[in-house]
Symmetry: C2
DNA sequence: TCAGTAAAGTGAACGGCGTTAACTATGGCA
DNA sequence: TGCCATAGTTAACGCCGTTCACTTTACTGA
């Protein structure tokens, strides 16, 4: 690990400046406002110069998306670390941090979790690789979820039924976490899609027809969701009651 | 209601042709492939001519989105009508029709349910108006859901708690369906966000890290979802509790 | 029937975009 | 000192939405 040369320092500084400008444009005008010419204008440069740093606008946007995954993950890790030792508390605070970040950074959330802009479809597909920023993001949720559900009777169909219906189709997940019981895997997926659906609908403006303060719905849903998984309250027959 | 003149007939025909071409471009290249010039090329026209029919490209895309809502609604109504009289069966088939349409028409689904393209944010906001295509779409689900949950003990927090947490924030929904018990309203919203999350994640490619056949997950989730609402466990007097 | 008019469509132009190609300046190294 | 990879420039091509001035076409009323 030798010290970076002057050239290298300049290069990484310019690279960061490009991504900063791109982020600024993303925030103020959405992904369609991110253009090479606008970035270059912001930096006092000309557009073709950016091709020394990224092979295309799409590649730049993909790199930005990777950074955003990492930023969101760090945010959620911080919420987890501030929540104490109970995995249920940790998950609640992580979900809240997720929504808080999404609502506070709608353009960024849209970029990584919305309908994929050109080039981001491939980025999402590569998420099976454990080193992918999205995969590392997801793994953060999995650990406390496993701890929470350990020993709990999960509100899912019985394992045999899941195995029959779903067993052969969880290959991507099993490749990374082969030791996951199928009930836990299914419960995790179910919870994740619920969380995603709620947050995404709010950020995309698809809840306005029903709710005028989505946070209230989120908190309610978070409460019922967690109640289903708390090991203190195992439901006797798999159907949650209140 | 007089017969349409020849001019009017030509006009509506051209209008339909424009939307057809736009739809074709949407399907093959996503919303960013829909351009006035490409549409005009497809029709053997020049781009400015389209301004006789739409004030802008955005307006054209919004009109297309409205048509798509109607198309999806008709598809789902057909599935309901083919499912017999049981509201549970109806809902299952409607959800399946929803996913089938979404997976079969990813670009169209993305346009109306994805992160909003320019101009579609406002379109989504106007969804509070009952005449809005999106509102009419949603209403189709509500009717059998209310029938299904009538007399059932819903797997939600008790009505008092919901009233306290959520009561004041369902104004948009209450404006159209003021007679809806809060437990039913909340259960409907919860179920809808679950369905949305699952289908959207599949269509947007955000499930590839976990599942290689999303339909299996969808069917499993649909089963557990419906099991929660089937009136197999009605309150003793057949009257909804709230 | 025919003049007048409103609608439909054209062509040129403006400024924006991604991208490529040819070219210039410059920092770092043998 | 001389070389050369690197970073940056300008010019250009072909897209794009949109506007404007213009022409063509179809309908209407006297």
């Amino acid at each position: 690990m030798t010290a970076p040369t002057r050239r290298e320092r300049l290069r990484t500084a310019t690279l960061a400046e490009i991504k900063d400008a791109a982020r600024r444009l993303l925030v103020t005008g959405g992904v369609e406002a991110v253009s090479l010419r606008a970035i270059a204008r912001d930096m006092g440069m000309t557009a073709p110069a950016i091709y020394r740093y990224f092979p295309s606008l799409e590649a730049l946007v993909v790199a930005l998306a990777g950074d955003l995954y990492d930023e969101l993950r760090r945010e959620i890790e911080a919420a987890r670390d501030a929540a104490g030792a109970d995995p249920g508390d940790q998950l609640v605070e992580m979900c809240r941090a997720m929504r808080r970040w999404a609502v506070g950074h709608p353009a960024e959330f849209t970029l990584i979790f919305g309908s994929p802009a050109p080039g981001l479809r491939e980025f999402a597909d590569q998420c099976v690789d454990p080193g992918h920023p999205g995969a590392r993001f997801g793994a953060v949720f999995l650990t406390p979820f496993v701890a929470l559900t350990r020993g709990a009777r999960l509100p899912t169909p019985p394992a045999e039924l899941l195995q029959q219906r779903l067993g052969g189709h969880l290959a991507p997940l099993a490749a990374k976490h082969g030791d996951l019981p199928i009930q836990v895997a299914y419960a995790f997926l179910s919870a994740w899609t619920r969380l995603y659906g709620l947050v995404a609908m709010e950020v995309f403006g698809h809840l306005g027809w029903a709710v005028d303060r989505p946070e209230a719905l989120f908190e309610t849903e978070l409460g019922t969701l967690l109640a289903q998984f708390r090991s203190a309250d195992p439901s006797p027959d798999g159907v949650p009651r209140h």
